[in-house]
């Protein structure tokens, strides 16, 4: 299995995602945002950070990067795409996921470990979790409050597309405690918490490791 970690100018969790995917046994490669293809990757990760310094609003400029056309094509053909933090914001801006990430309710950047409940195991990135399983993952963002209209939220709930929910401590005021969602086909997932920072006991949690262990993707599952 080959995972592409896309690097935008201002990405800063690219190396962390790279290491987490490597630790999960994947073949990992960086793809620069000017690239027009994904270099044969099976899975795409859009990492966290501040692409284009969050100019205008997070993700608003990165969605126009040349590589995003290839990412959209990959998503349309059913390929797994994971957006973490700024990557989630980019996926929303690119309309590969519905809704948006607004300024945190408390108006400040917030970085702390939170408890996140797995709500769906029917995505390539959560297949190794149990529904209801609680994960300890760090958040680190200023714009993480998931917002969508009621119809969209209801559609997400009904379709089983809410993938992660904050359990107890909702750090940003996200609607319905949403921490992560999936596309209609469930191959595109966006999440605000950082699983790539929770893959080693030494750093306090290994709960994020399974996100990167996508068994059977190369075989076309």
């Amino acid at each position: 299995m080959k995972i592409a970690v896309v690097r935008f100018p201002g990405s800063n969790c690219d190396a962390d995602a790279y290491h987490a995917a490597r630790a999960a046994g994947a073949d990992v490669t960086y793809v620069w945002h000017r690239s027009t293809d994904l270099e044969g990757a099976d899975v795409v990760v859009l990492p966290g950070g501040f692409s284009y310094g969050d100019y205008l609003r997070p993700g608003a400029i990165a969605r126009f990067s040349p590589v995003m056309r290839a990412v959209a094509e990959h998503a349309r053909s059913g390929g797994p795409v994971l957006g973490i933090c700024n990557g989630f914001q980019i996926l929303c801006e690119a309309q590969l996921l519905p809704g948006t990430l607004a300024r945190n309710f408390g108006l400040s950047f917030v970085c702390r470990p939170v408890t996140v409940r797995v709500e769906s195991d029917a995505t390539p990135f959560t297949a190794r979790y149990r529904v209801g399983q609680e994960l300890r993952l760090p958040v680190a963002h200023g714009d993480g409050r998931y917002v969508a209209d009621d119809a969209t939220l209801d559609r997400l709930e009904r379709g089983g597309r809410v993938v992660f929910r904050y359990a107890g401590d909702n750090p940003n005021g996200a609607m319905r405690d949403i921490a992560g969602i999936a596309s209609e086909e469930r191959n595109v997932v966006g999440m605000m918490p950082h699983p790539e920072r929770a893959v080693e006991t030494l750093l306090g949690s290994t709960d994020g490791a399974a996100v990167f262990a996508l068994a059977g993707v190369a075989a076309g599952v």
Binding site: N12, P58, C85, N86, F109, D143, L202
Partner: protein
């Protein structure tokens, strides 16, 4: 061709010289160096390089007395940053610097650009920045102005560090009315490199091109270095245009481009265009290499039209680097810059005539012997006399012990913003990006692992200005000793120091006395603890109409763990663990937080520092951690033993109670002095009862007094302390609430009105 004035340049009058911060003696020296009067541009150049900020003219003689050598030192003072070997061929570059005056007038940008500047000092050594630390000083949070400053500074630090993707992992925050008119914002950065990747900022090779990489040059921050070299006064608000504006996105690109340039082998030297911008960076690189440079200031890409050579040379626009490249590598350098979407331009060449020459097209606007420009400033030898008021406040006797309720006193101490939890601050910082943070903020020192090795790094920064104010020599020692304890309680061996020396006006004899004596204390402590000083920064003129700040020599320290998995937490771990106090109880209340709380004043002799005892304690803690004997370890500092115990208790998740009897430990000491005295060379450790005998035996071997005083736990229980007939009992949940709420409760009234912060 000699330098000529340009049409429209102001005439060189004594008033103009004075406004450039140069005194008559310095001007005479300039005329002697040049053999003629300087041009306006040259006056500006001298003004910048001979400012206190760039030349250290008041402090240099004293700084030379600090120990700077040791087998671990790969690079001592004089470069962009010091570098220490940590083992396995790895090294760390680290340095701390102040951004006090810009932050006083524009807290958000002042603090943000402070972070930006210190990052550049690190990656220009060839090191990837892996951690930031910040030591902050404000007045009382009861004042709206101070809340505004605190809010803006914290947000400025966060927005910059978060965006560049470097975790902010440690530091300290102190609130004291003495900082009311002049806050302190000291930022430290630590970078990681392979020993062989070290690059120095020394220009070499006549004919080699000099290239500017990064942001365009604008009119911001002109004379920022000179601004940093005078006291804040009424009307300082009008200085806001001298504060630079930061752009962390460009900085992130600069980090990647610079590290790629260094790795490419195309460049000889690289330096941040920081204080005094193009002028200081080019002059310092030339002086270090013993070569000359010739610049054409007109070739520097500018942000606006009509800039004069004077402005281009002295601009402090941020996120710019000056690179000396190998001849013929111009295009390769440009290509790397372009890949990272950065501009670059060749602006000059290295020469062999030793002159610092600046052209503006065909005109020569400055021509100065390079070495004299950087090193020729006449040293000032200020008088140093301790003020009578200082002697009197130190000699003032302690008030008689009163029968105050110990529990109430503890609660009031935990509610002091200086002692209380700083969670409100550090949760606004990304503390875990780069996925190396083993222990983040909230303990004594942060611990990071070095990926791909077994090594760990422990980092800390801070100082007790109160002790230095009361006794500069003992206070200087205490600052280093506390930093070393902070490192050692994690199990790490202290390795080296960067200092950021914040004082008032050095021309005042009592201020210079504080400076000289504090440095003597730092030097003695650094020698005793074998932690050489490899660089740092002096910040004088921290004064406002309300007076000088507390003399605050901030100490940033790096330590190393051979095996990061042996690292010890500050928080209690398990119910039933034995609680052991290391070090002797003397009940020293002079200069303590408790004394100030009950009397409203700061006085007395601060706790004395026994360097032999500190050294033994550090060695013991490191040894005990390596043998995995410790469940937790926490330094005893402000607020004394009682506060240290509560901090370890509330740090556990969930919080643990404890049961302690100090009657034997504090045999001849009054109960309040036993609980709240800030005696040095102490730590609180917990240990699995099965290891207690081994730990005690090891303590004897190291000559460290170790007294078992009680036990930990259980969860959610009470805190109980007995000292003979006096008792203290409080539910841990209540103490935790007070400790956690003190800062956010006060900040809740904070004003907004700050630039919109970036998200991500």
């Amino acid at each position: 061709m000699t330098a000529r004035s340009r049409p429209g340049d102001p005439a060189i009058t004594s008033e103009l010289v004075r406004r450039h911060g140069l005194n008559p003696e310095e001007f005479d020296r300039i005329v002697a160096i040049l053999g003629r009067e300087p041009t306006y541009v040259e006056l500006g150049i001298f003004s910048a390089l001979w400012s206190e900020h760039c030349s250290y003219k008041h402090s240099r003689a004293v700084l030379k007395t600090l120990p700077t050598t040791g087998p671990q030192v790969l690079q001592g003072p004089g470069e962009n940053a010091g570098v220490l070997r940590i083992g396995d061929g790895w090294a760390v570059a680290f340095k701390m610097e102040s951004h006090n005056h810009p932050s006083a007038v524009e807290p958000y940008q002042g603090a943000a650009t402070g972070v930006g500047g210190i990052l550049r000092d690190i990656f220009t050594m060839g090191a990837r920045p892996i951690a930031l630390l910040d030591s902050l000083r404000f007045g009382s949070l009861d004042s709206p102005r101070q809340r505004y400053l605190c809010h803006g500074v914290v947000r400025g630090i966060g927005d910059y560090g978060n965006c560049v993707g470097v975790p902010t992992v440690a530091g300290d925050v102190v609130f004291d009315p003495a900082y009311e008119g002049n806050p302190l914002v000291n930022a430290m950065c630590v970078g990681l490199l392979r020993e062989e990747e070290l690059i120095r900022a020394a220009a070499a090779g006549p004919g080699n091109p000099i290239i500017v990489v990064g942001a365009r040059t604008g009119r911001d921050g002109i004379h920022g270095a000179a601004f940093a070299s005078e006291a804040l006064a009424e009307g300082t608000e009008a200085r806001r245009p001298q504060v630079q504006v930061g752009d962390p996105f460009t900085e992130k690109l600069l980090i990647e481009a610079s590290l790629e340039l260094i790795a490419s082998g195309h460049i000889v030297a690289i330096q941040d265009m920081g204080a005094a911008g193009l002028t200081s960076s080019s002059a310092e690189m030339a002086a270090r290499g013993g070569v000359g440079v010739e610049l054409d200031a007109r070739r520097v890409p500018t942000r606006e039209d009509g800039m004069t050579p004077y402005e281009v040379l002295l601009s402090e626009s941020q996120e710019r680097m000056l690179v000396v490249a190998e001849r013929g590598s111009e295009q390769a350098v440009e290509a790397i810059a372009r890949k990272w979407e950065l501009e670059s331009a060749v602006v000059g060449r290295v020469t062999d005539d030793g002159l610092y020459r600046v052209r503006w097209g065909d005109e020569v606007v400055a021509e100065i012997p390079g070495r004299s420009l950087v090193e020729g400033v006449p040293a000032r030898r200020p008088e140093a006399v301790e003020g009578e008021a200082a002697q009197a406040r130190r000699a003032r006797p302690m008030p008689p012990t009163a029968d105050r309720d110990l529990g109430d006193a503890l609660e009031r101490l935990l509610d002091l913003p200086t002692i209380a939890s700083k969670r409100w601050v550090y949760e606004q910082y990304d503390t875990s990006v780069q996925a190396n943070t083993v222990r983040g903020p909230g303990g004594d020192a942060a611990v990071l692992r070095v990926r791909g090795t077994t090594l760990g790094l422990a980092l800390t920064a801070g100082s007790s200005g109160r002790y230095v104010w009361l006794d500069p020599y003992e206070g200087g020692k205490a600052a280093v000793a506390e930093a070393a304890r902070n490192i050692a309680v994690t199990g790490a061996r202290p390795l080296g120091v960067t200092d950021c020396l914040n004082f008032g006006d050095p021309e005042k004899p009592d201020v210079f006395y504080q400076f000289r004596e504090a440095c003597r204390g730092i030097a003695d402590a650094c020698r005793a603890l074998e932690t050489p000083v490899t660089g740092g920064n002096v910040s004088f003129y921290n004064e406002s109409p309300s007076g000088a700040v507390l003399p605050t020599p901030m100490i940033g320290m790096v330590g190393v763990l051979a095996d990061v998995t042996t690292c010890v937490p500050a928080a209690f771990r398990t119910t039933g663990d034995a609680l052991v106090v290391l070090g002797r109880c003397r009940g020293e209340l002079g200069g303590s937080q408790y004394l100030s709380m009950v009397t409203g004043e700061t006085f007395g002799a601060p706790p004395s520092v026994n360097l032999a005892a500190e050294r033994a304690l550090v060695a013991f803690l490191v040894d005990a951690a390596e043998r995995r004997l410790l469940a937790s370890a926490h330094d005893v500092s402000e607020g004394g033993l009682a506060v240290a115990l509560v901090e370890s208790a509330v740090g556990a998740a969930p919080a643990l109670g404890f049961d302690v009897d100090l009657s034997a430990y504090a045999r001849d000491v009054a109960a309040d002095a036993a609980l709240f005295g800030e005696d040095q060379a102490r730590a609180v450790v917990t240990v699995d009862p099965r290891h207690l005998a081994a730990l005690t035996a090891l303590a004897v071997q190291h000559g460290v007094p170790a007294t078992m005083v009680g036990t930990v736990g259980p969860v959610g229980a009470a805190v109980r302390v007995v000292v003979r007939d006096r008792r203290l009992e409080r539910p841990i949940a209540r103490l935790r609430e007070i400790y956690e709420r003190a800062v956010p409760r006060r900040m809740a009234g904070a004003e907004g009105g700050l630039p919109a912060a970036a998200g991500g």
